[in-house]
Amino acid sequence: MDFGFSLSPSSAIDLDKVDLSLYRRLEQTVPDIRSCIACGSCSATCMAADYSGMSVRKLILNLQRGADVKKMLSCCMLCGKCTMVCPRGINTRKLILDVCRYYSDNKL
């Protein structure tokens, strides 16, 4: 039956159900990923951020919440500015390359 409206999909994050397999793997290869303080230095300095919505801050947060980051990642130009400004010394370059490797290994 068509009511002209339907149940709205929930945008809420349910931490009991999110898939953290990628994040768990990255915790091993880039342990500093855990120490992000979401300061936004990376996004502020990012060459791609203005035009594409690329943000390493959001990338890490999305990884921690089990969300898909493929689209965002495709905008990165690997210039390395985010690595230079990070106050926590996170190896963002390795992080991005490892995420790419995960997606290609799993043919995602």
Partner: protein, 338 residues
Amino acid sequence: MKESVVIIGGGIAGLEAASQLLALGLSPVIVEKSDHLGGHVAEWYRLFPDLSPAQDLVTHLVSSTSGARIYLETEISRINALKDGYSATLNNGDVLFCKAVLVCTGFHLFDAAKKEEYGYGIYNSVITNRDLEHWFGGLEDARIPDNPRAVGFVHCVGSRDVKAGNTQCSKVCCMTAIKQAIEMKEKFPEAEVYCFYMDLRLFGKKYEDFYISAQRDYGIHFIRGRVSEVSEDIDGRLLVKAEDTLSGKPLKVRLDLLVLMAGMVCSPQTGRIASMVRAEVDDDGFLRSRDNIYSIVESGRKGIFFAGACTGTKTIPETVAEARAAALSAFRYIKEKA
């Protein structure tokens, strides 16, 4: 005869001030309403940032005040101004004559049950920071499960909360939460540990190192969002809701234990004592110092001094430093008058 100073409150501020006054050749008298010395610190298990036992500090302070007169389970009924000092009448009938009064009435831990949405006293596995310290110290607590899969900490419970009547930051809860989160992770390495915060205020020596370690070495999750609601599911687990403000989405998670970081509020006795010594109460409910930069330990009234959390939220090192400053100020006041 040595000149006497009445110290109201036998917490760490009162004890340290007494110890300094003894060293300066005065005769301090501590009047403590409870049955023990050391105040809140005596109820704590380990202290940040060195994880040193709280009992060591209290034992040290108590032993260094063995020369002072100490009343336990005693309250002040009345304080009268005399020509060259004060007289304090105790509820046991004793009257103490002194040259100066040092107010060290400290703070009161916010009653977490007032934040009804968190269900302290209603849901089985909701406890406070103090309950957790008691448990670390060896007290049994049936609310803490044997093998929790997930544990949460709620920062700012009753702090920075206009509706709870407390606008102040309690200063120590961020660090206490991180300390307790690490201690829980050490006890239960398999458990996921979440800290729900509004802002992390980690200003002191080694605090930031603790935070980095909590993130990197212990994998504690920090979620920037205030918990809005707690409920219990059919298995008795807690369902906690918050906004993950960084991703801008509502978030929920099931926990086996929730620890509420109850903040510091002014002690209910403070107002009563303030009216006895005619000291002013500030608009945050704490005592008003003569000024907040140079004369925090002075009241603006002759011979009335303050030390510790009676004037605002303080860490232990700040309290101890203020107690020393207040002792010295009282000493100079008495000597200059003489």
